[in-house]
Symmetry: C2
Subunit: 247 residues, 2 copies
């Protein structure tokens, strides 16, 4: 049986403060938990229902953390989902270790993308387009926020990321930096085959004044109608699609 | 001064049942209200703060509905925003009048897109790509849901739409119907210059079995990584972008 204290511990991980303090986060729902168990994250607690046990008995056996067979009600008490008849797991945070982008490789940098849903969707887009490295400004939403993980649909297990000062990091890489602006080159008539870093800006302010001078290629998604702008995740997808069609 | 009853009336419009009953909906936030006042919607009530009055006095003068100068607190009591120091307006619903798609024109049909955020984002994408006509299955989220209107970022004023049985409507149009499937033609290597209807399916189930046979051209957005799928709004944007780059 699962103790009240364990439920309380998991619940606390909805808040960034406690995730930092405990060096832990949780994911919920069958799909996300399955992806987590198949990944290199270190799982410390696994809570699963009879239903999930029937579906994933072999995978559960591979888990090295504490395992608890529970009811859907237990899962709903511990997590953020209104209904969850599958599983929930707690894992350790990964270290915030910087990495470089190789020549010819494509990466995404986010400058202050605040909405967790947008961040999760961008992670899913990166995973779809085979982009494995993401770099976040310190003000970008927390990767381990349950809303980010849920909207990534399991893709959070297949990307590497770290948080840093982009104004220092971007010049160090000595690579092309692509940014979407209203007055850039038309992305439809440009062939981009080399790698580099796609820089996407904040939901309302776009790319900040500090980072704008670091963009080496300004790009524009051509507009055919009257909307003022596109959502940041939508723009990321359209840029990735245009880059990859030439690769 | 605004009466308690008017505030109560506006608040009730958060629910579809009351929107239908009252034949009315509301929009909130300066940008959305400004777009509404500039559109052909019939505004019946306009609530604005001193701040909005200073910015948009001339536009306020054109409004034929009842006007109330109010405090941000009044706006927050009537609407769904936690903070709103701009405006809120009530307008009449438009008739659910069917229309045809012209030859060579591009339209979007949604088969059971349930999430209001996705619907609003798709409306914004349609407006960006100059697509003016949208057709919704009866199970698609309600256009006048505040979350739909807010995530459309004002684009809701620039599209025409109606709800109908797609299984009857699509064949009547005698136009190409494009649908995204896992085993369709690669959208990157296909040139699509004629118009038609882009059919997008439900968030988890995709295009329904009833409508799948009506798709005349199956398309696939090529995948370069491992995500199982793309969010429906993301896929809509990528398809629109690929169609428009050839137009």
């Amino acid at each position: 049986m699962i103790s009240k204290n364990t439920v309380k511990f998991i619940k606390s991980l909805q808040q960034k403060k406690f995730r930092k303090q405990e060096n832990a986060f949780f994911v919920e729902g069958s799909k996300n938990v399955t992806e987590l168990l198949l990944s290199d994250f270190e799982v410390t607690h696994l809570l699963y229902t009879d239903k999930y046990f029937e579906e994933q008995q072999k995978l559960i056996d591979t888990c090295k953390g504490e395992c608890f067979q529970v009811t859907p009600k237990n899962l709903e008490a511990a997590g953020s989902f209104k209904t969850n008849d599958g599983a929930l797991a707690v894992a350790k945070l990964k270290d915030n270790s910087p990495f470089d982008i190789e020549k010819g490789e494509l990466a995404i940098a986010l400058d202050d993308v605040r909405d967790p849903g947008n961040l999760g969707t961008i992670i899913r887009i990166a995973d779809w387009y085979g982009i494995k490295k993401l770099i976040f400004s310190k003000e970008t939403a927390d990767f381990y926020n349950p809303k980010v993980l849920n909207s990534s649909m399991g893709s959070f297990t297949r990307v590497s990321f770290f948080y840093t000062e982009l104004k220092d990091y971007l010049p160090q890489q000595q690579l092309p930096v692509y940014g979407a602006f209203l007055e850039g080159d038309n992305i439809h008539s440009k062939t981009i085959t080399e790698g580099g870093i796609i820089l996407m800006g904040n939901e309302s302010k776009g790319i900040s004044d500090v980072l704008a001078p670091l963009v080496t290629q300004k790009l524009t998604i051509p507009r055919f109608g009257h909307a003022e702008s596109l959502n940041v995740a939508i723009a990321t997808a359209v840029i990735c699609d245009n880059f990859k069609r030439n690769s």
